[in-house]
């Protein structure tokens, strides 16, 4: 009862901080974009094959680009607070609806890749910690080295080569097959099939990280005094490892996973580009090429949102795993 109230209080404080952080991110993003050379007017002029200076000024006035920096910034933040992220001239659509149409694909990729890396990483770590000199343990060391040293786009290209040429069992591009018909499950299965390769590619680095860390913390925990106590109580090996040791070795892994979330999101940009996954990553890539400032800002905003919310959840998850975290006294 007391704990629940406290949990709620802490959560609200965290949410408050998150909002402040988000506004800071907005200001920073906008300032950086403003400092970069070139704007929408330049791109339009380029697309039109060159226009005169007066027309250029006209365009700038239309988009409000002739106003002082602070006025533009204030206007932008005011709009964002009203959930208006602006209008993408390149796609001729509202930024918000563009992003919302792409966000689910990215969330699906990021969340499944992160979960895959976490679950498989912890399982590998635990198994190899129980037999530090076993084959699996050496495999984990190798996997960690490989996963960590191979760049994500290279792993992606490797996957493409293997699965398009040698073993064509998974689709290598896109998110769904337009020829597939059927109900919800047929569609879901189709998406899952498309998801496999990008998901594995994106999770490879993080799988390496988490399995290494899980192995190290698990080995440390297995040698700890309270594990000896658990054995002295006459508990089974399974209880000792999966009840007493595992819960203690989870918190470092969860902490790292939270810190790595931003890396997962930025990794998604590359992976989506390699596998033509229709998510925010490909949209970001195209919007940068088109100097579509409102869209770039919008995507940056949403990425920041994903990372901040993810960190918030990590924080709260840690509280559930380890009672020492947080103010309960």
């Amino acid at each position: 009862m007391d704990g629940a109230v406290n949990f709620l209080r802490v959560t609200l404080i965290r949410v408050f901080y998150a909002v402040i952080l988000l506004i800071a991110v907005l200001i920073l993003n906008f300032s950086l974009m403003h400092m970069a050379p070139g704007d929408v007017a330049d791109t339009i002029a380029q697309a039109a094959g060159g226009i005169d200076a007066e027309a250029l000024e006209q365009i700038r006035r239309e988009y409000g680009l002739d106003q002082p920096f602070l006025v533009q910034l204030g206007r932008y933040i005011g709009n964002v607070l009203r959930f208006d992220l602006g209008y993408s001239f390149f796609y001729s659509d509202k930024v918000t609806s563009l992003i919302l149409s792409r966000l689910p694909a990215t969330l699906l990729l990021v969340i499944t890749a992160q979960l895959l890396a976490l679950v498989v990483g912890v399982i590998l770590g635990v198994f190899s910690a129980r037999k530090p000199n076993g084959i699996l343990s050496h495999f984990v060391t190798f996997l960690a080295l490989f996963g960590y040293s191979a760049p994500v786009f290279w792993t992606g290209l490797l996957m493409l080569v293997i699965f398009s040429l040698m073993i064509p069992i998974f689709p290598v591009a896109g998110m769904r097959d337009v020829t597939i018909e059927g109900g919800f499950f047929a569609q879901a299965f189709d998406i899952a099939r498309h998801l496999v390769l990008p998901m594995i590619t994106l999770s490879s680095i993080f799988l390496a990280l988490y399995s290494r860390l899980a192995r190290a913390t698990m080995m440390e925990v297995l040698g700890s005094d309270y594990v000896r106590t658990a054995k002295a109580k006459g508990l089974t090996n399974r209880q000792v490892v999966y009840k007493h040791a595992l819960k203690n070795s989870l918190s470092p892994v969860i902490t790292l996973a939270g810190l790595q979330l931003s890396a997962v999101v930025s990794g998604a940009v590359l992976v989506e580009t390699v596998f033509s996954w229709p998510g925010l990553g490909t949209l970001a890539f195209q919007s940068i090429l088109a100097r579509d400032t409102p869209l770039i800002l919008g995507i940056l905003f949403f990425s920041a949102l994903v990372v901040i919310v993810g960190n918030l959840l990590t924080d709260l998850a840690l509280r559930l795993v380890d009672p020492r975290v947080g103010g309960k006294k």
Partner: protein, 329 residues
Amino acid sequence: MTEPLLKVENLRIELTTRAGVTPVIDNLSFELGHGENISFVGESGCGKSMTALSIMGLLPEGVGRIASGSIQFHGEELTTASTERLRDIRGNEISMIFQEPMTSLNPVYTVGEQIAEVLRAHQGLSKKAAWDMAAELLDAVRIPNAKSRVGDYPFQMSGGQRQRVMIAMALACKPKILIADEPTTALDVTVQAQIFDLLRDLRRNTGTSIIMITHDMGAVAEMAERMIVMYAGRNAEIGPVDQIIDRPRHPYTKGLISCVPHIVANLTEERHDLTEVPGIVPSLQEFGKNRCLFASRCNLRTDECLRERPPAREFENGQKADCWHAEEL
């Protein structure tokens, strides 16, 4: 004579290290009667804890093993017992408390859960019944407001309270033997006295035999009927506590006793300088050699001490000392 509760005969424990195989326990024999309190005394590294762990079947896997000898509990051989049988005994019929109360409890579970767990594992109690019993046990080890503290986490308790929780956990299944491995070393003096009081009372009420490992001669004099002095993995002297303190038959015991100020004050009024046992314990390479391992620190050393390991000399009062010069002392 009735069958002793625990009978250890010619126990030899070998430790495999980089340097080779070392007998850390060499030819140790002792008996423990029903309701008796026996104390192990000796310097760090003399094998006290190894003896305790071997009785529990908890020697570090792959490093330590029982090479020969026997440990009989109620006439049942433990050295050859199956892991399942040992698990049944651990925490149930023989339980153990450790030196480090600060780290011996699992930080992520409540103390109630950690006590209740033993009851569920060995006595098949339901979750509710085990939890209620845990509260009763906390009360029995004199933790104030036991009912409300049963849901506390270890980090919310002091060192003394944590050791009380360990004791409650160890006594949960009313074991025949309680092994206390330096139960008060990490606690301050007033708390030490409280813990000893508690152990004494619990023993009176439950009839549990206690094997106490310590290097506190004062505690031995207060708590135990018989004591075993160990040196470098071997028995130095064994016998009734009052007899040994009155007239030690091994130069090492003599040295240990004269290290303790208040006992010395009772024995010989005129000695004021506190003495020490000169020199240091032999290195692991020395263990197992056929000579007296204490000889290098002994002022009674003669040629035969270096030539051959001394046999046990038995005296009429039940004292037994492994020393060539036992009669002279």
